[in-house]
């Protein structure tokens, strides 16, 4: 999917579908494992938003960098992060991608340009801006994508970083995943105006797209990534989607019976989720395509099962690392 063609072929779309499905099945498994009490920490799931990470990262190279959010499993996987190592991390095992020291909210693989999921809402703005400044100086053709949500758009650092990115023509793509909720608050109760307008005010090229249509995401990202790579400066994509799961799993414990949205709303969005949408497109390809979809489902389920087994069977994290990993070559 190197972005050499101007449009996606049926087989390209099939590959994007498989990537989205891997994220979906992984997240569903984590939902169930969390419910069963098998995970030590909280998980924030990406179900319903898979098209955005997938469509964007399909345009990236291994050396490109991303910053992510507390809802970061999808970004990690779409950028090429190892599934086994991610699940081992979430299970707090020594084989985890961060050796069990970071957990779900901090999955990172610096060797693949994944500068980390992040527990601080909006933290990615400045990290991505700094990374993009570094990339610009290095002149090695790397670019940076900053994934963030509508909730973090109300952090002042977004405006600070839009300013710097525009001023310095940084190779940076801002991708706002507007999933309609800022933790437990509907976006319309906490966010004024159109988020993309904030970027327009700095003269940054902006697109507002349907984030549940992976083709639309891929296309918008392709333009933005090419702009960044060719020295054209930053871009801003606001992708509309819907968070099917709660802010975090088992949120009912916090809500104590209160509701901040209606079940019918969730169901209507579920029906037009990105995977459902793409599957319908692909099924139109006839019996061969349908058979391929069945194969993909099997393959993805096997991968998830294997990864969970790997995580569960791995040895626990080494507590001594809390001391040896604080500094590089120095005790705390």
């Amino acid at each position: 999917m190197a972005g050499t063609e101007s449009e996606l072929s049926q087989q390209d779309l099939m590959r994007l579908y498989e990537q989205m499905l891997l994220i979906r099945r992984t997240e569903e498994r984590l939902r169930d494992e969390n419910k069963a009490g098998n995970l030590p920490g909280a998980v924030h799931l990406y179900i319903g938003e898979e098209a955005i990470a997938t469509g964007v990262c399909a345009n990236l190279r291994g050396t490109d960098m991303i910053t992510s959010t507390h809802r970061g499993h999808g970004h990690y996987l779409a950028k090429g992060g190892d599934l086994n190592a991610m699940l081992a991390e979430i299970w707090a095992k020594s084989t985890g991608i961060c050796k069990g020291m970071g957990g779900s909210m901090h999955v990172a693989d610096f060797s693949k340009g994944i500068l980390g999921a992040n527990g601080i809402v909006g933290a990615g703005f400045a990290i991505a801006t700094g990374a993009a400044y570094s990339a610009m100086l290095a002149q090695e053709g790397r670019i940076v994508v900053d994934f963030f949500g509508d909730g973090s758009s109300n952090q002042g650092t977004l405006m600070e970083c839009l300013n710097i990115a525009a001023l310095w023509h940084l190779p940076l793509v801002f991708v706002c995943e507007n999933n309609t909720f800022s933790e437990f608050s509907p976006a319309k109760t906490v966010t004024a105006g159109v988020i993309a307008d904030r970027a327009r005010a700095f003269g940054i090229p902006t697109e507002v797209i349907d984030g549940n249509d992976v083709t639309a995401v891929w296309r918008a990202a392709r333009t933005a990534v090419e702009r960044a790579r060719s020295g054209g400066g930053p871009s801003f994509i606001e992708a509309h989607t819907y968070r099917i799961q709660g802010h975090l799993e088992a949120e009912d414990l916090f809500l104590g019976g209160q509701r901040y949205r209606q079940p019918e709303e969730i169901e209507s969005w579920r029906a037009r989720g990105p995977i459902e949408f793409t599957r319908k497109q692909l099924e139109a390809g006839g019996p061969a395509a349908i058979a391929q979809l069945v194969e993909i489902e099997k393959r993805v389920m096997a991968k998830v099962d294997d990864a969970v087994r790997f995580a569960v069977e791995s040895p626990p994290a080494d507590p001594e690392l809390a001391f040896t990993l604080m500094f590089d070559g120095q005790r705390p």
């Binding site: 020291m101 990172a108 400045a126 700094g130 970083c161 710097i164």
Partner: protein, 327 residues
């Protein structure tokens, strides 16, 4: 050795390290014009890619330092005044100090943050703080407090070459002070205290800006028969506990001087450390000489009232050792 000013020693360290490694970059507010003096000439030599003025947005600058370091550069962030540690604190506390552990040791963050601290210039409360105490509590941040031109140069060079986030705390208002600086390659290791004046009756631990008044106090005390040892820890993280304990073993008395406010100051931490690990060595309670728990006021006379000086240090020592002043 040649005599050089503190600010000049810092400038030399920046020049040498930027010459040495093209991956070293420096950014901050008004660094191109070298408003604080320490960056003088850097833009002309290294250009506006490696030396870069930023907008006024410390919250983002500290996060950008993390991002640029994670992406492969050696970052020097100039924060001007140490009060701006507070405005930039989120990414310092939540990213810079934690990313290495959170990433399982993947992140390597060669970041040096320069910030000038301390009062004495009628800069009022928001530009006079000694803001390292919150940094000491973060865990993953080195804190350097050079008191002399030689240590300023040697510690800054070590910080820039190092691979961990380090705060280089410039003693504000001390920039014009002169001292001997070794020629050629001069690196000062972290966690190695320096005995600035040997003595046998009392240990005065003097942090950064407090070294000069502490040495003056020691001189005054000598005239009245008190032989004070003045120890400069040079770095607060890592901290040379062994050197302080060895000195206290010799003197049995400890006074810690710190320009931070008393509550949760570095002085408090050092006092607690000695109470914990050196209680049997002490012949008297540990005393702290710090700014009281107030903000630094504007009026010069009010400022002088709250910032420790040679007289208040000597007075504390005399109270501790029980030897009255000759006069």
């Amino acid at each position: 050795m040649a005599k050089k000013r503190y600010i000049q020693a810092i400038n030399e360290a920046l020049f040498e390290e930027m010459e040495r490694d093209p991956k070293v970059i420096l950014f901050g507010e008004d660094v191109e014009l070298a408003i604080m003096g320490d960056c003088r000439g850097l833009t002309e030599r290294f250009g506006r890619n490696r030396i870069r003025n930023t907008p006024i947005c410390e919250q983002s600058l500290t996060g950008m330092a993390v991002g640029a370091a994670a992406a492969g550069h050696r970052v020097i962030l100039h924060l001007m005044f140490s009060n701006f540690v507070y405005t930039g604190m989120d990414a310092i506390g939540n990213q810079m100090a934690k990313m290495r552990l959170m990433s399982g040791g993947q992140a390597r963050l060669p970041i040096t943050v320069i910030a000038s601290y301390g009062g004495g210039g009628s800069n009022a409360a928001q530009h006079s703080d000694t803001a390292y105490p919150p940094l000491l509590n973060l865990g993953g941040i080195n804190v350097l407090t050079p008191a002399t031109p030689a240590d300023a140069k040697g510690l800054l060079k070590s910080a820039i070459r190092g691979s961990n986030p380090s705060f280089f705390m410039e003693a504000g208002g001390r920039g014009g002070e002169q001292g001997e600086v070794p020629e050629g390659e001069h690196l000062v290791p972290f966690g190695k205290a320096n005995i600035a004046r040997p003595g046998k009756d009392v240990t005065i631990v003097a942090i950064g800006s407090m070294l000069k008044p502490a040495l003056q106090a020691a001189k005054d005390l000598a005239a009245s028969g008190v032989d004070a040892e003045v120890l400069d820890p040079r770095t607060l993280v890592p901290f040379d506990e062994a050197a302080v304990l060895a000195s206290v073993k010799k003197t049995g008395h400890l006074v810690v001087c710190d320009e931070a406010r008393e509550r949760c100051s570095a002085a408090s931490e050092i006092a607690a450390m000695v109470a914990d690990r050196g209680f049997g060595l002490l012949k008297a309670p540990v005393k702290r000489v710090t700014v009281p728990n107030v903000c630094i006021p504007y009026a010069p006379n009010a400022e002088a009232r709250v910032i420790p000086n040679a007289e208040s240090i000597a007075r504390t020592v005399r109270g501790l050792t029980g030897r009255a002043a000759a006069a």
